[in-house]
């Protein structure tokens, strides 16, 4: 079962190439290591409905036992993608979401459910702000997202 991640990702990819919930689109999945997804937030005035946000998924060989690494990407060339403003999303694209952390992750999640979680996290947002200490974190952080110990203090999202 060493090839569990490959088999499972192939299945997920087949599903994803079919139909996805509104606002979620697969951009590219060149291999079974890195996928790109585009996200649209449908009913929140903070995020104009025509704005897309690019998510990058990086899967380890241990997926789905291990959580994938999910970050927002900023693209400056066409198509332009920005990092959505949210009190739990740092301006370098790192997302503070318990689902993506080792403690919060569960193998029953999949790419689609992660996308839906992030989408709903953005859709329910009312604060037009970055996390506290964003500038400091972005400047100093060199650790991988999964190695950062976030403090999940906000149960509302």
């Amino acid at each position: 079962m060493a090839g569990m991640s490959g088999k499972r990702l192939q299945k997920e990819l087949a599903k994803i190439q079919g139909v996805l919930p509104p606002g979620i689109t697969l951009v590219s999945a060149p291999d079974l290591q890195t996928w790109h997804m585009d996200l649209r937030i449908l009913d929140n005035p903070l995020y104009p409905p025509h704005d897309h946000y690019r998510l990058k998924f990086s899967f380890s060989k241990n997926y789905p036992i291990e959580a994938p690494e999910v970050v927002f990407l900023r693209l400056t060339t066409d198509p332009r993608r920005d990092i959505p403003i949210h009190p739990h999303i740092y301006s370098n694209g790192i997302i503070c979401l318990d689902l993506l952390d080792a403690q919060g992750w569960s193998p029953v999640h999949n790419v689609e459910s992660i996308c839906i979680s992030i989408q709903s996290m953005l859709a329910s947002n009312t604060k037009d702000e970055r996390p506290p200490g964003d500038a400091e974190f972005v400047r100093s952080n060199r650790a991988r997202p999964r190695d950062i110990n976030f403090l999940y203090h906000d149960p509302s999202v």
Partner: protein
Amino acid sequence: MWHSLDDNDNAAAATTMEISGDIPDSTDWLNTPLKDFAQLENVLHCQICKEFYNCPMLTSCSHSFCSKCIRSSLSADGRCPACRTVDQASKLRNNWALEEVVATFLAARPKAISVARREQEQAQYSSRPGKRKRVVLDSDEVEESSRTTRSKSRKMAASQTSNPDVVDVDDSEGDDGAYEPEAVPDDGLVECPLGCGKRMKVEQVEPHLDRCDEEKELAQKANSRKSATLANRTIDRQSPRPQDRLAELNYSLLREQPMRKKLEELGIPGWGSKQLMVRRHTEWVNLWNANCDSTQPRTKRELLHDLDSWERTQGGKAPTASNMSTNIMRKDFDGDGWANKNKDEFSRLIADARRKKSNPESTPDQSKVDTGDEFAKPALDGDENSSPHFDSAGTNPPTSQKQSSSPYANNPDAMASIREKVEAANAGRHIEPLMNQGFENTALNATKDSTSSQPAHAHTSVLNPATPSVPGTENKAMMSDGFRQVREVSNDEHAVNQRTGSPARKVPMFELPSEPVNDIDGAGDGTHV
């Protein structure tokens, strides 16, 4: 999730699946009158690997997963993946009923899906106006009137929601061998030329031929799996388990040597760090115990093969994570070790930086190299001084004092200068340390000038080890060639630094040694500001 997809898009998804090679998948059902079976098939999937349950196990919280899946998951975080309840691998129990359901479903699936597909194709065909419709009507006239309602409802089932009753009737009709010969004249269908016993329209024979073998294989596999399951279970009840489950170890109590011994006792590789051995042992325990759960235990050789493929993908022989994230520091990076190893280098750089700060006058000296002031002058001793450095710098990595002291050996002017100093020292005057010689601002004679430019040369050539080494001769032409090379190198250096110096730069946390920081700054100030 994808259960709740709507109809039109599903059709597209299902057709792409069929085209892409007909792997059994729950979406196979979506395009047929039996599309509720997609849901049924999904609940027979393990939520971790998304495959049909392979030896399902019940957790204490009554969720089911494949044995291997749940064991891996529990050894990773000790919680049920579905409800996050704390659980232990030793509390898992076999879910025999579910295993039987899966085996039975798998055995029945190929026939069911072919029937469902046939229904779909017929429905599509008969909804088109033309010849086929008349045939249906003809046969309806011949047969009793109930037949008409069936074909009508069949059409409806295909276009909207499925009707289980209709499906059942059609199912028995299609699969009942005794009924088939009668149906021949009615339907105008032909039998599969490969002899699988299916009946279809002439147009459908071609696409069916591709699928026929696969379907038969699947059916056989599922059948054998089912019979094997049942056979083994009867054996199982009679005799106790042939193999005992392995216990999980308390890894933190075990030292490296006993750990290695333990692994070798188990017959699995005992090399690598303790961390790796722990991971290998965990994997082996999971493989082994999952095999104990299974009704069809595999041999140890097969398990070892599995472990070997684990080793190659995730274990010690796995490709390093470099292809995935080159810009990110390794998780287990030994920062202290690296700091100790490169202590000399770091302290030299710090010393350089401090010295630079206290002697800002040295900046113009260094910038000369790059601006070409010195280059424009007829090559004097400055060139000669630079030449020996190629040899030493090209072969040696920059190592503190040695770098700046050894090159003087071949340099008559420098040696003269040193001797002068020694004499001065003997005479009781103040001695400037050798390292600082170039930065001393008193008595700027030609010799000192030349020595002062040396650190810059040394560093630039260090930066580019590919620089061809120029033997330290007195040949002027050759010297100026060498000097030009130095200049080129330093230009490159600027380009590099301009790039890596941008705010978006990504470097590992401890990557310092190859860039002498002070020289870059000095040169940058001289040329670009």
